[in-house]
Each structure stands twice: as structure tokens, then as C-alpha cells.
């Protein structure tokens, strides 16, 4: 069946003219019709637009366009509901944006189009990317394809669920504290968070601007390499994007792990890791050793301060970024007698509870009298966390850790205790604080119920090439990425 192919498998068939882009798009739509009632990954799909794009690609292919020039030619890729696509709605799974439609294409959207991708669908997420389960969506949660009673992770949970349910050939999400890697781990797919500055954030609704980064969720490592190559690069519209060269990530894949040094941070392997996750992780480390990697223990002494630092820095930035949702220029407005009450009413009714909680926390840590004690101190601890990474990378090429301490949890389990929900991001957060790149890929399953387990590799800043190479070598030696959820 067409929908079962990897992105790379599909491009081979498109290039050989064995299938058309319309057939590939149609296969996704049929798969969505069959399973999305259970998974609930998609919030909306403009089918005519999607098929129209596919037809345009088919016409280009007939005229001689090739995958050498446009590596994603004809490939249906879905987008998290925070990318601006001209003329299409974007809601960030929030009520506050109302019937907003984007007046322009963001840079990632433009680059994926230039590479020939067929961009379709708005994928469910935690409201404004704040959450670890999609339960904070104002439009209902998405479900984990491996067990529909469980969450797919978050905030890019819909993206991971859509990839795991084979409803698209890849999905684009964002990662602020683990929002690509954690759902990838919980749904058994590959999720890559590039280095801060690697991919433009122009036309991506901001949550925490010093941490947000765009990245792919896919069925395997090679597919992520292909999508990253299409999206990466400097953009004059995003002054934090870095003007370094974009390597050919795909052509550098292959080979074993001889000469690679992997760092095992003792501080990550704390009590509280689920025994099955720990066993799968230990086996993955051993597998990497067998592939030629040298394993070295490294120390990351500030790991335990990551979550506290993150929830000060991220909420402070969110409180500033989300000030734009005020009911004046776009989105829903709830009237008031004066501007002040209009703002309060609009935001009080438009934002969900987690978003309110974080904006209020962020406002507090930035407020007069508390700034030094909270925000400034957190920024200093962030420096110490970054130094941990710099020191580790003096001796090793990448770090190897579990992505999350446990497999997917049941819906509702952590909703009453925000702090417990935050702590599920403990292994992914420091990568964002340090601004470097990380990837999660499948490394096994729990036994009963059968749920995916994720392995995280963290690479050097702008070291995506080597990171993908290591991940690919592990993946090619193991069967986990070929397993599919029964739906």
C-alpha cells in the first residue's frame, strides 16, 4: 500500500514514474478517512488545495522536473498548526485566533514548496505548543496510534501520531523543550530538533523565541535528513538564523560508528526511569558499541536544574510573545468598555488554562522586584547548563540518553498536576537551553501494552550531519523503525 512507504521510498517511485503525486496524496487522504477518526491528528484539510498542488507537481514531473533538483517533488507533508501558509487558517490549537488566515507563506513553507513538497493539513498540538500530551488543545486531544487511550506526547503530538498512523510521509513540527523528540519517542517515529539558528522561524507562531526550533518528524532517519536539507539555511527574515553552509545531509549517511565517541551522562540515568525503558536504552548503548562506537561516561552536573531554568526562561518569553494576542489586529475579540477590559476579556476567554498559567508565571518572573531573583538567575544557570555541554563535547561527539523516562502515559493522568507534566520533559529540555541539536529514534518497545521507547542522541551545535549519521547507523542495525502500530 502506498501510504506505508517511507518518504524516501515514495520519492523513488515518483522518480521512476511508477506513481503520481496525486495518487500519493489520494493515498494519504484515504488513510486519513480510514483511521483519523480514531487518531484525531488532523484539525482540518483543504483537500482541493492538496490535490491541486499534487496535480501541479505531476505536470512539472511530466515536463522533466527531477528529484535531483527538488528532493521532495510530489511528497505529501503535513504541518503543525502554527505554520503560516498563505490563505490558510492557523490556530495553534487555540480559540483565540478565531478564523485567522495567514496573509503570507513562512520561510519553511516556501522552502518546502520550492523543494516540491505538497503541503497539506493542519495538525493538532498543545495550544501554542505548551504541553506534553496534546491535551491542552482547544479542539480535543490526539490519540497515540499504539494505544488510543494514551497520549501521543506533545506539543507536536499530532505530527507524531499522523506519521505513526501513516497518514502522511512526514510532518513538520517545532521543539521548544522537547516538543518534537518527546512525541516522536512516544509514537515510535524519528523526530529531529535542529540547532537553534539552523532553520528559519519566520512565519512560525512564536512560543519562546530563544528556544523554539522547527524540525521534521518521520518514519526513519533518512527521511528526516531529506526534510532538514530542504528547510535549513539562513533567512534574512529571521535574524537568529545562522549563515553557515547547509551540508548534503542525505549523501553523508551510511557507514558504521568506528571512531565515534558517545557520551553517557550519569546525571540523566537517575532513579525514576521505567525499568523497561532503562533496559531498552542499555541495549541500545551496547548496540552502538558493537557498531564501533566508544562509550565514555561524561558529567553534566547541572542537568537537575534544567526543568526549573526552562520554566522560567520559556514562560518569560511566552508572556512577551503572546502579548500580541490582544483582540485588536487579528483573532477573536471579546468586547469591553475600555481597551484594558477588552484585553482582559479577550485573553481570559481566548486562552486555555495552561497558556494562562504560563503567561502569568512568565509575567511574574519578569515583574519588578522578582526579575533578578527568577529571570536573571535562570539566565545565569542557563550559562552553566550550556557549559556542561561544551565540556562534554570536548571529549565526545554526541551524547546518548533515553528521550523520556517512561513510555506514553494515559490521557488525563497528569492533567491535574502541571509540575508532573513538566517533569516528563527532563531529558529533552537541556538541549534547547544549550541551543544544540538532538534526535529521538525508536529503540524498542514495552511488553504489555506494547508501546514505543525512544533513544535520544544530542549532537554538537550545527553537527546535524554527524548526528544523523550516528542515528542512521543505529537504525540500520535494528528493526524498531520498521514496526507499525495496528490500527
Amino acid at each position: 500500500m502506498l501510504h506505508e512507504l517511507t518518504l524516501t521510498g515514495l520519492t523513488a517511485k515518483l522518480a521512476a514514474k511508477e506513481v503520481s503525486s496525486r495518487e500519493a496524496m489520494q493515498a494519504c487522504l484515504e488513510r486519513i478517512d480510514a483511521v483519523d477518526g480514531q487518531v484525531n491528528a488532523f484539525m482540518s484539510i483543504d483537500r482541493d488545495d492538496a490535490l491541486g498542488q499534487a496535480d501541479a507537481v505531476d505536470a512539472a514531473l511530466a515536463k522533466g522536473a527531477t528529484h535531483a533538483g527538488q528532493p521532495l517533488l510530489g511528497v505529501p507533508v503535513s504541518l503543525k498548526d502554527l505554520f503560516c501558509v498563505k490563505g490558510q487558517p492557523v490556530n495553534c490549537s487555540s480559540k483565540i485566533l478565531g478564523d485567522f488566515r495567514s496573509p503570507y507563506d513562512g520561510t519553511v513553507v516556501r522552502k518546502l514548496r520550492d523543494a516540491g513538497a505538497v503541503l497539506f493539513g493542519r495538525i493538532n498540538m498543545d495550544e501554542f505548543a505548551m504541553g506534553s500530551s496534546t491535551e491542552n488543545s482547544a479542539f480535543g486531544r490526539s490519540n497515540n496510534p499504539w494505544d488510543l487511550e494514551r497520549v501521543p506526547g506533545g506539543s507536536s503530538g499530532g505530527c507524531a501520531a499522523a506519521v505513526a498512523a501513516q497518514e502522511c510521509f512526514g510532518s513538520i513540527g517545532t521543539d521548544t523543550g522537547g516538543s518534537i523528540r518527546q512525541p516522536a519517542a512516544l509514537c515510535g517515529c524519528v523526530g529531529l530538533k535542529p540547532t537553534y539558528g539552523r532553520v528559519s522561524r519566520y512565519g512560525v507562531v512564536a512560543f519562546a523565541s530563544s528556544l523554539d526550533q522547527v524540525g521534521p518528524l518521520t518514519r526513519d532517519v533518512r527521511d528526516s535528513a531529506t526534510l532538514l536539507g530542504a528547510m535549513a539555511g539562513h533567512d534574512p527574515h529571521d535574524s537568529t538564523s545562522v549563515p553557515t553552509e547547509v551540508p548534503d545531509y542525505v549523501s553523508e549517511l551510511g557507514g558504521d560508528l568506528k571512531g565515534i565517541k558517545l557520551g553517557l551522562p550519569g546525571e540523566f540515568l537517575i532513579d525514576g526511569i521505567d525499568p523497561e525503558v532503562r533496559a531498552a536504552f542499555d541495549a541500545a548503548v551496547k548496540q552502538c558499541e558493537e557498531l564501533g562506537a566508544e562509550i565514555q561516561e561524561v558529567s553534566m552536573p547541572h542537568t537537575e536544574y534544567g526543568v526549573a531554568t526552562y520554566y522560567i526562561v520559556a514562560t518569560a518569553e511566552a508572556s512577551a510573545n503572546l502579548a500580541r494576542f490582544d483582540g485588536i489586529r487579528y483573532g477573536d475579540r471579546v468586547d469591553g468598555d475600555d481597551p484594558f477590559s477588552l484585553y482582559c476579556n479577550t485573553r481570559g476567554q481566548g486562552f486555555g488554562e495552561e497558556v494562562k498559567r504560563r503567561i502569568i508565571l512568565g509575567t511574574y518572573v519578569l515583574s519588578s522586584g522578582y526579575y533578578d531573583a527568577y529571570y536573571l538567575r535562570a539566565q545565569k544557570v542557563r550559562t552553566l547548563i550550556k557549559r556542561d555541554f561544551e565540556q562534554a563535547f570536548e571529549t565526545v561527539d554526541a551524547l546518548i540518553t533515553p528521550t523520556v523516562p517512561a513510555a506514553a502515559f494515559k490521557a488525563g493522568e497528569k492533567m491535574d498536576d502541571p509540575l508532573q507534566m513538566y517533569l516528563s520533559d527532563i531529558f529533552t529540555i537541556s538541549c534547547n537551553l544549550a541551543g544544540t541539536c538532538g534526535i529521538s529514534l525508536p529503540c524498542g518497545f514495552t511488553s504489555d501494552p506494547k508501546l514505543p521507547i525512544g533513544l535520544q542522541l544530542i549532537g554538537k551545535p550545527f553537527g546535524e550531519s554527524q548526528l544523523l549519521k550516528i542515528a542512521d547507523a543505529y537504525e540500520q542495525a535494528t528493526p524498531w523503525h520498521t514496526e507499525r502500530a495496528a490500527l
Binding site: 539558528g197 537568529t240 526543568v307 475579540r333 502569568i360 509575567t363 511574574y364 527568577y374 535562570a378 550559562t383
Partner: protein
């Protein structure tokens, strides 16, 4: 990092978010827990440590001051909840 003086009503007002009394009570309790947790950072000695605002090795990114294409006024106003004469309409600000 004293947080016993965390006044939810005051901070929600600063953030321009209207809360019901029930929401205030629930959020105050949850934020109290979170602020208790982030007290952890007090354990560290940060004397002489430079604060880090972001991770990119770039500073003062400038471009030449040239007029670039931008979206037309009509498109910029298309999402406005209320507009008239090419302007956003807001409640009266001065008496």
C-alpha cells in the same frame, strides 16, 4: 526567591487576563507549587556567571535600510475583528 507574596490577581492584571475566582484559586495553588520547585535554582552559586539570553553566536544583525515589499494594507486588515477607513477600530481611549 520569596513566593509567599505571589498575588495572582495582581499578576493576572499585569498579564491582561481576566480570571474567575475559581480559576484564580486553582492557578494560585498550582503556580505556588511551581514557584516552590524553581526555588531549586537558589542552591547554585551564580556569582560571576554571565547571563545567557540565547544560544546563537551572532550579535547586532543589521541589514541595509532599503524599502522591501510588504503585504498590502487590505491584507493586513483582513483579519481585524473590527476595522473602518483602513484603520483598526478600538474602544474609546480618552474621555
Amino acid at each position: 526567591m520569596a513566593n509567599n507574596d505571589f498575588d495572582i490577581h495582581y499578576v493576572a492584571n499585569l498579564a491582561r487576563i481576566a480570571l474567575s475566582p475559581e480559576q484564580e484559586a486553582r492557578l494560585a495553588a498550582q503556580l505556588g507549587d511551581i514557584l516552590g520547585y524553581v526555588k531549586k535554582l537558589e542552591e547554585l552559586d551564580v556569582t560571576g556567571v554571565e547571563p545567557m539570553a540565547h544560544a546563537v553566536p551572532l550579535a547586532n544583525v543589521l541589514r541595509t535600510d532599503e524599502v522591501q515589499p510588504s503585504i498590502p494594507q487590505e491584507a493586513a486588515l483582513a483579519n481585524a475583528p473590527k476595522q473602518a477607513n483602513g484603520l483598526f477600530v478600538v474602544p474609546k481611549i480618552v474621555e
